[in-house]
Structures are given as structure tokens and as C-alpha cells.
Symmetry: C2
Subunit: 196 residues, 2 copies
DNA sequence: GCGACAATTCATCACGTGGTGAATAATCTC
DNA sequence: GAGATTATTCACCACGTGATGAATTGTCGC
């Protein structure tokens, strides 16, 4: 906006929403440290001061961007209702559907990349492993629930990295059925199979 | 060093090695972006200009820190020599021994955290998946080698995140035998088992 | 139409970053 | 012992960062 003057723009542009959407995209692709407030502002077509006006500090913006449009615990609830048989497949299909939907994927990507950020790492351990996966295992009546759900979580995280982050072929372009065929037996064994 | 003067220090302090060691530690724990040249210098007890003197740019320092003391391909070679039977377990034990040795773990951690860095992501795809895992699959005569080795890679990456990065219990403190009992059957099925 | 309020940009700040060059001290070679 | 070379710090640079406050513009209610 090289000809921009001070003052309010005409009409009702929802610049706040534009800022939030761009923040979600940039935090997901470049992480917290790799995303500057100015970059978010530029992508939204506003001045950086407006970002602070609406969201406060960069930390506050980050937290706002992390708010998923839906509660993951609700999404995964059906997995637990079907009982332990076939739970591996149901869990995986639900997981894939969440990750293949861009609306939910961006905040999730942001959270996952936080595993390497000492200040934000609790997001993954407490948010994903404890709040999302833990209750599923408990509801399914999984034995040795902490061990088994952490095995499950390790494979799911591996899938995220391979398919969604590094985009290794042929995993990146595999269909849900193909992934289920390969991974569901693994998840099922981790849930109720023989662990040696 | 509040009383430091200009000029060479007496004796033969190996400041270059000190800088490199600190760089390895910091890049592994804070990543490229989260590690400043001044932080490395401070940790090594020298002035930041000395880092540039010895290593050039920050990028050059990063590459130097990435040089593992040993070639991972040599470490994993025995896995391929024993044939496909039991390869899952041999691969996992070798993998764990490399990761549980701090000398090799730091550069590996640095590389793994690069999955989220667009500029350095090829390190994982090309370095780990293609150069290390790929040849193992080929040497073992694995069918559908690209698919199967990417499945293997996805679980190994998940183990890295869960055990070494997020340090989820009980995986973080599990013995190698416990991990083998849980994961080796998964890796073996990915190598030569039924994938559906 | 006027005043209050909200939205928006411009101008600025303190600080940290990667990096450069000159001054200084120690070691080595002749 | 002198000069060359190497190691080391100090001083400085340009730039980008998160953030603040004042000036300006548009909308709404009376």
C-alpha cells in the first residue's frame, strides 16, 4: 500500500480476521521464531501496529492462532465409543481426516513444530499426549495405558512428520485406505496386542 | 571475561574445539534460528568475532557442527548383512545405540529439528531417508522398497520425537530391550510383513 | 453537523543479530 | 632478538525485531 495514509479504511474490512488467518498460515509454515509480526501484517495487508492493536504481544497472537476451530477431543470421541476392536483403524482414520483438513491442520502443524521449542514444548506433551490421546486410551480400557498410548503417539507423530511435514513419497500422496492398510495393524497391536 | 584485553591468550587453549562443541550443543537444543553466534561464543568463553575467524559465517558453523564423528552408513551396514530375518530388531538396536550416544546424538538432533526449516529440510529427506535408510532396504532385498522404508522411517522418526525430543514417559526411560519388544515387530512387518 | 469512538498508519524506540576491521598479545622461525 | 604469523578482543556497522504513542480517517449516535 504505497499510497496509504493514516486513518481508518472505508467500509467494513475484517482486518482482524485477515491478520489471524495469515498468522495461522505463517506460524504453521515458519514457526514462532521464523514468523515476524511485520510478516504477518504484510501478508494481511496492514501495518504491524494493527497486529499489536488487536492481539497485543506476539505471544498473544500465537496463542490466538493456536485456537483450533474445533475441539480435538470432540473429534476423537467416536473412536472411544466403538470399543477396543478396530480402534486402531478408527483412530487412524479420524487422525487422517483431521490432518487432511487444512482448517485444522494449520494449528496442529504449529503445535507439532513446537516440540523443538523448549518454551512451547509442553504444548505437545500436555496438549496432544495427555489431553487428546490419554483420555482415548482410558475410555477404551487400554491396559498399561501410559505405555501403550505413548507407543501409539510415537507412530502418529512419525506419520505427521513423514506425510505432512517432510512429505516423503509414497506416503505423502497415499490414500487413507492405503495408510490404514499399512498402519492400522501397528496401532491395534500397540493398543491391545502382544508387546513382548 | 570482564578483565579481558585484546590479543592472543597464553598457552595452547583449543578454543576452536570449544566453539565447535558448544555449537553442537546449542544447535541441537535451540536449532539454527534459536542459536546466535554470540551465544555460542559466550558458551565457549570467547568473543563472537573469533567464531567468524575460525568458521566464517553462521551457516558454515552450522555445517561444521553437523559433521558427525562417524558415518551413519557404516554404523548401519551390519544391519543389512544379517538378511531380512530379524532385520527389524537389528535396525532398531543400532538406531537406539546411535541415539543414546551423546556424541552422535547432537548432530542428529540438529538434523531432525531441521524438518521444520524449509531451507534445511532436505537434510532429513535426502540425508536420512535416501542416504541412510534407502540403501539398507535395498541391501536387504526389501520389496516395494520405497514404501516399506518410508513406513520404517516414519516409526523411527516417531521414536526420536517421543523418546529423545519430547521425552514422553515411559518411553524416555525404557531400556533397549523394552523398546525392542514393543517396536521390533512393527519394523519387521514394515520390512517384510503383510501390509494389507 | 458535531463529538465520541474505533480503526489505521507513521514515526520512533531499545535491543539483538550476523558480520567486518583494526589493535593487541603470544608464538614461531630465522 | 626481530619480524612474521596467528589468535583474540574491542569497536563498530546495517539491519530487523517487538513494541509504543501520536496523528489521521471513517463510522455512529444524538
Amino acid at each position: 500500500m504505497s499510497t496509504t495514509r493514516r486513518g481508518r479504511r472505508p467500509g467494513s474490512p475484517d482486518t482482524r480476521a485477515a491478520i489471524l488467518a495469515e498468522a495461522r498460515t505463517l506460524f504453521a509454515s515458519a514457526g514462532y521464531a521464523g514468523t515476524s509480526v511485520r510478516a504477518v501484517a504484510a501478508a494481511a495487508g496492514v501495518d504491524a501496529a494493527l497486529v499489536h492493536h488487536y492481539f497485543g504481544t506476539k505471544d498473544d497472537l500465537f496463542l490466538a492462532a493456536l485456537q483450533a476451530p474445533i475441539d480435538p477431543r470432540q473429534v476423537f470421541a467416536p473412536v472411544a465409543e466403538g470399543g477396543i476392536d478396530g480402534a486402531g483403524e478408527r483412530l487412524l482414520r479420524t487422525f487422517l481426516s483431521v490432518w487432511d483438513d487444512e482448517t485444522t491442520r494449520l494449528p496442529l502443524l504449529t503445535m507439532v513444530r513446537s516440540v523443538f521449542d523448549p518454551e512451547r514444548q509442553p504444548l505437545v506433551r500436555d496438549g496432544y499426549m495427555r489431553v487428546v490421546l490419554g483420555p482415548i486410551g482410558t475410555a477404551l480400557g487400554v491396559e498399561d495405558v501410559e505405555l501403550r498410548m505413548s507407543l501409539v503417539g510415537s507412530q502418529l507423530m512419525g506419520i505427521v512428520l513423514a506425510r505432512y511435514v517432510v512429505q516423503v513419497e509414497p506416503l505423502a500422496s497415499a490414500s487413507h485406505d492405503q495408510l490404514v492398510a499399512a498402519y492400522a495393524p501397528t496401532l491395534q497391536r500397540y493398543l491391545d496386542g502382544v508387546l513382548g
